[in-house]
Subunit: 215 residues, 2 copies
């Protein structure tokens, strides 16, 4: 039943376009009632991404392993890569679907999963839920930006490199990116100091930062 | 017709709960067909937020005025406040609706509008669309976090203060927050310097930052 609905939907999307296909059309072709459709898929969008639930489960499992380990922002970036992998494993289908629908999946489910994880990690920290929600949204947006740019290239570019680049922007923005060798040409020291701080104190701060054991 | 559908929907939400009300139930009570419903509202969620479109238009207008002026991130934070105002103007209704549905509006439309604006502002900059998409998502997430916290307080807290706090986190994360007087106790100078930079160069940089005309 589920597969029949997916097949009918894609047949119609190809024939008349995604936007001009309604749920009514899909159920008519599949020979089932609307209620059956909605038992499997909350909306037309969901029939386009039948792997969505499995993928969400994979992401949840991924985060559950060593949940407290590692930098939380890096962990949710890695969790987003679980979703990317689902696309990258089947580039032809992914690219065709994107051409057909111009859509990437409504990632609200993923965003909620990532936010929940981060809320756990940030529990007790000031603004923990705020940080969690904002970072989860930023991760999903960066992931989707990378995914779209790969899909638009017709699957030509390297999806993982696109994702690394986009997710790195998120990690940098939320202050958790580690320098990553050759690609980070500039090994920098950031000194934050109150205006009016005596210069000797600033210099002391810089010196101690520079002598923290790194070259 | 539109108002009849909204009234029927809220009557049913109150009676049996939001989740257990279907579009079929709403159209049956309103005495119209499903097609009429979907002519006005893309989904059940939308009937809950009938002001959504007007508000989106207000936001778009707001961003169109002096589109190139001001810090882009600050502008989109202000645009998010346009949405907040819609809620804050009618606290009783907003709080009741939240109790009923536990939902805040699917803000994908808002997010797209903010991202489009930022893409324009960042045009030609490296990673312009990435930055635009990520910042728009972060703004919407922060706005929703503040909105929810206000709604959960039963409308008791100050919604604008909640939003200021949440949006400030976004501005800080994306490096565009200006000091804001009394609340920013620390007036800071940030110096970014390559490791290995001679100390006199660093000191020169700090001195020139400190003498930029500010006290």
């Amino acid at each position: 039943m589920r597969d029949t609905l997916v097949a009918a939907a894609f047949e119609l999307f190809l024939e008349r376009g995604y936007d001009r296909t309604t749920v009514d059309d899909i159920v008519a072709l599949a020979g089932v009632g609307r209620r059956s459709f909605f038992r499997y898929f909350p909306s037309k969008e969901d029939v386009v991404f039948p792997d969505h639930e499995r993928c969400l489960a994979d992401m949840t499992d991924f985060l559950a392993v060593d949940a407290e380990a590692g930098d939380p922002v890096a962990r949710v970036c890695d969790a987003a890569r679980v979703v990317l992998r689902m696309y990258a494993e089947n580039p032809t289908f992914s690219v065709q679907r994107y051409r057909l629908t111009k859509q990437v999946p409504g990632l609200r489910g993923y965003e909620r999963t990532l936010a929940q994880y981060l809320r756990g990690r940030f529990a007790g920290r000031p603004d923990g839920t705020l940080r969690a929600d904002v970072i989860a949204a930023a991760v999903v947006a960066a992931h989707n930006n990378a995914l779209r740019s790969w899909l638009r290239s017709g699957g030509e570019r390297d999806p993982y490199a696109e994702a690394d680049h986009a997710l790195r922007y998120v990690q940098e923005s939320f202050g958790t990116a580690a320098p990553r060798g050759p690609e980070t040409a500039e090994d920098v020291v950031v000194i934050v100091s109150r205006r009016g701080t005596p210069m000797w104190r600033v210099v002391q701060g810089i010196e101690s930062a520079l002598s923290d054991g790194r070259p």
